[in-house]
Symmetry: C2
Subunit: 254 residues, 2 copies
């Protein structure tokens, strides 16, 4: 059973792309056949794997110009494929508004190929528009990264509301994979306060693993590599490895 | 002559809201009649000034249900008013697509009241959709916060492209107010590298003042206050005061 996990949160800069790249690359390292889908016009997941301005891209799939099979490419890691994004995706939301069943375009495209993969990870943009709706409609679950900062708390209610709407109208089976605390700074009172609030709000949906703030994580994309290839001994790599193990364990329970 | 400055960058979490709140409050502290417009559904600028889920909001203005005069409210600071946002703005972009001259709705609404203010600051969402287009079309200039991290560099080309398109079709006079480096960490090589790249790319459009990473800045919104009221002695307050002074000086030259 293929698990399709969207990484979503409309708050900007909370670690969606960082989590998508590092989770996908660690699942691949665990020899799980994995596809990373970049549905953000910023294309940060693509460039984080050294793929720049690739054509064709997910844009061509969403507007019906290309078959998804012709767009997916292999990454430089075994077991990891990528459906790359491109900046022309910026205009897609307005173009898709007039299409039939505009919320299910990605889901329909994936039906032809999803069985090739054990995990499909979708990196979403910082908004709740048609691109994120397409990702949530196509997914089996949604992973919510929450930065340990005050503003990150504010948007969670709206995100849960959107997930409820998607479940009601487009995808009854959508589950919450969990909530991942990111950029936690053990020295800051604010980090501890936000983490406590999130655990109060989400209970055991919050992953036990917390991703600490670690400069090696923010350096890795400038080398076009996930943290496991850039610096496997860093605390960032250790955190993401523990998180991936925890996610795999949660998914192996009956 | 009223200066209308959009704070825009589609990259998430780069310090748009933080800059909007702190610039607007320091302009008010300098006794410049200032209006802060929150056109982001996340409503972080509103909550950063202790205004929560306010009705009516900018949503009602953009869909034509309310006159802007009935929506603007006074903040708790003299010389500072707010046009608050509300989460129902999430659906506005799709609702506005079918409206006539959808890009100039904000500009037209402002024509009745802008002369009451010397500065109008617009906090934009992390995307280049209709909300940001409305802000750019209504503005005299755009201020671009750039976080000193790798991914923040990637989106700059697209943002400049969008500004060029707005200038061509909707607003010939739109200028670039400048580029502000944010969350600079003096200890990190990455911060210095990104700052150097940005200065190479933008030259003297880059403000000399750099905003350093400072935890007091990220604590202030949880008290619903700008940094000047939360901790006026912090390095964050000092940085934003220097930046506001630099901006005022740039605007006073003939
Ligand atoms: N644990 C961490 N420690 C240090 N830096 C981090 C960490 N996680 C992410 N970052 C950095 O923080 C910035 C924001 O992260 P990222 O781009 O992954 O967030 P995002 O949610 O995908 O942003 P957007 O909303 O723009 O898509 C990036 O520069 C990234 O390198
Ligand atoms: N100089 C700084 N030092 C420390 N923290 C900062 C600084 N500037 C901003 N922050 C914090 O970083 C986070 C992101 O900043 P902010 O929310 O202002 O960015 P944004 O660009 O408005 O995000 P979005 O794209 O979601 O609208 C916030 O939690 C904020 O408190
Ligand atoms: Mg991202
Ligand atoms: Mg913001």
């Amino acid at each position: 059973m293929t698990r399709i996990i969207s990484i979503a949160n409309q708050k900007g800069g909370v670690g969606k792309t960082t989590t998508a790249i590092n989770l996908a690359s660690l699942l691949a390292a665990a020899e799980k056949k994995t596809l990373l889908i970049d549905i953000d016009p910023q294309s940060n997941s693509s460039s984080g794997l050294s793929i720049f301005k690739h054509n064709p891209s997910i844009y061509d799939v969403l507007i019906g110009q290309e078959d998804i099979k012709n767009v997916i490419i292999e990454s430089y890691m075994p077991y990891l494929d990528l459906l790359p994004s491109n900046i022309n995706l910026v205009g897609a939301e307005i173009e898709m508004v007039e299409l039939q069943s505009r919320e299910t375009i990605l889901k329909n495209s994936l039906s032809a190929i999803y069985e090739r993969y054990q995990y499909i990870i979708v990196d979403c943009p910082p908004s709740l528009g048609l691109l994120t709706l397409n990702a949530l409609t196509a997914s089996t679950s949604v992973l919510i990264p929450v930065q340990c900062e005050y503003f990150a708390l504010e948007g969670l209610g709206q995100l849960l509301n959107t997930i409820k709407i998607v479940r009601q109208y487009f995808n009854q089976e959508l589950l919450i994979e969990g909530v991942l605390l990111t950029m936690f700074d053990t020295r800051l009172r604010l980090s501890h306060q936000v983490a406590e609030e999130v655990r109060k709000y989400f209970g055991d949906k919050v992953f036990k693993t917390v991703i600490n703030r670690n400069v090696r994580i923010s350096e890795a994309p400038s080398y076009g590599k996930p943290i496991i290839l850039y610096d496997a001994t860093s605390s960032g790599a250790i955190n993401y490895m523990a998180f991936t193990t925890e996610l795999l364990e949660r998914n192996s329970k009956p």
